[in-house]
Amino acid sequence: MAAQPRPGIFTGRLFTRKAVAVPAERSVRSFIPVVLPVIVIGALLLLLPTFVPSYIQSLVTKMMIFALFGVSMNILWGYGGIPTFGHAAFFGFGGYACGILIIHGGISNFFLNLVLAIALTALLAAGLGIPAFRVYGVGASDNPIYFLLVTLAFGELLVRVAITARSLTGGSTGLAGIPYPQLDVLGITINSRSFYFLVLIIVVVCFFIIYRIVNSHYGYALRGIHDNERRMQALGYNTWLYKYTSYILAGAFGGIAGVLFAYFGGVMIPGTMGMAMTDIVFLIVILGSASVYFGPIVGAVVIVGVEYLASLYVPDRWPLIMGAIIVVAIMVIPQGIGVLLLDLWRRLIHGST
């Protein structure tokens, strides 16, 4: 019962992680501050392909994929307070599962492929979650170092498996030749523009589902575990189950992002499951702010955008730039851009307060 939201508090931080008491307001007041921006951004995204060149369109596609990747990770880190360092494993695994199913399994139907890849990724998360949460313990959000190491090792282990199983995964050169998804059933042929809309639809649907999840009773219980796991246990919650299922959920959504990424790039390399990728997604979440739902979306837009600019002007210096962004994100704006944007937006809405 304690996890039930109390409505009506609009002061302070609306979607912040600590504010267990604040649900999404369903009153008329929330139309302008919450619904309007979503509609405007949605409309912009729908109209975008008509007035921008195709490279921007492909850049935005990539941003959306990484936004989903970041938001899926934030289920764990922002809401559950569980710092996984192997989230890229699910991203890469989903992509590989998709590619292998197409190239070696001969499954061309997009929906079947997507469902199978999600199921496989969820299964992997379910398998890895059991040993991983053995070292997490209770209330470990303050000292999660062993969980961090275990999940990191899982990711790197999968990288090694992908390098070794050459006949299936193409080894260290990667699995190449993943075609655009086939939607012949619907009478649509996919080119880069319709792929943009496909990604947009899937990502928006996933955002909506995740939003409903983290703002449901389940999501509030997860926040409660983040704040005080012992208390949640005393209230009768099976906290292990909450953490475990959130790990699977996050893994599955990360897998969807991976599937889209595999179609997007047409190639999967082992590194997408490893430490470097996990660091990028963690950076996306921290930079965008973990305590706001849309934080990782902002983070993804910034990171993918900067990476694109870097690839244009200083293609060899991306790791250096990333290092600089990390330093700024952690040392200078630890609360994240998302919180800054939210404050700015509130100030605009409510005048000078």
């Binding site: 070292v135 062993y146 961090l148």
Partner: protein, 286 residues
């Protein structure tokens, strides 16, 4: 029989390289509870610093010294500017130091180029010893000797000196240590500098065997983590044990069952983490 002897010798000398690699990390992670995932990159930078000196002045041992000093300073910078402010924020420490590691690798790539460099064996330790019909390089034996010396030094520091006592006290209760009038901040800064310097020292010593290339930090970091976690955090003898286990297992695995050798260390790592997260000997740091 002589294959077995050679494999054992190889395993032991590899274990001592691993020990040198992990000792600095063990010091900062196990003892201070600071996660410095740029350790692999520091090792790599040590190798490059040392090789740059060797290329100009042609003295191996000065190279080792400069490597240790250089990476020590870099490590000091990481600690002073970043990690000092992130106590207790483990995920942030991890993200930051991994990112710095990649940035360092990129800087090294920028300056020295992508191609691997090999170090020359110092003239003092060139040549081989004969074991039956097979030959074993003296340099690897020298590594064992240096590793032993470092082990004894660290062990002595940990158990017998005032610095060791302060660190152990700080590990148990930081506030209490501070309130006794001990400048814990200074001590931990120095320990961090020392740990980073050890990485550079090991990096240069490893060049005749491992070589040096910008992206070597990743693989080395994982090895370091395995060694420290398997052996146990908080004690230097735990790191030695972990290095012996991983080193011997890896070498014997590659010699006798090469098809699964890539995974043996990972398996041990995971099994130990799941059964005894604090390592075989050692105490739970966190």
């Amino acid at each position: 029989m002589s294959t077995f002897t050679i494999t054992t010798l190889n395993g032991v000398s590899y274990a001592f390289i691993l020990f040198l690699l992990a000792a600095g990390f063990s010091l900062t992670f196990g003892v201070m509870g600071v996660l410095n995932l740029a350790h692999g990159a520091l090792f790599m930078m040590g190798a490059y610093f040392g090789l740059a000196i060797v290329a100009r002045l042609d003295t191996f041992w000065l190279g080792v010294l400069i490597a240790a000093l250089g990476t020590g300073l870099v490590g000091l910078g990481i600690y002073y500017f970043f990690l000092r402010h992130l106590y207790g924020k483990v995920p942030e420490q991890a993200v930051l130091t991994i990112g710095l590691g990649y940035a360092f690798a990129n800087i090294v790539l920028w300056i020295w180029g992508p191609f691997a460099k090999m170090g020359m064996t110092p003239s003092l330790f060139t040549g081989v010893v004969r074991v039956g019909t097979l030959a074993f390089p003296i340099y690897r034996l020298a590594i064992v000797g240096i590793g032993l010396a470092v082990l004894i030094l660290l062990w002595w520091m940990q158990d017998k000196t005032r610095v060791g006592a302060i660190i152990r006290a700080g590990m148990d209760n930081k506030e209490m240590t501070r309130s006794l009038g001990i400048n814990y901040g200074l001590v931990s800064t120095l320990v961090f500098l020392f740990g980073a310097a050890l990485a550079g020292f090991a990096g240069m010593l490893g060049t005749p065997i491992l070589g040096a290339f910008p992206s070597m930090g990743d693989a080395l970091l994982l090895l370091t983590l395995m060694v420290v976690v398997v052996g146990g955090t908080g004690y230097i003898q735990g790191t030695m044990l972990g290095a012996l286990i991983i080193g011997l297992l890896d070498t014997f695995g590659k010699a006798y069952v090469p098809e699964i050798a890539l995974f043996t260390s990972y398996m041990i790592f995971l099994v130990v983490l799941l059964i005894r997260p604090s390592g075989l000997i050692g105490r739970k740091v966190f």
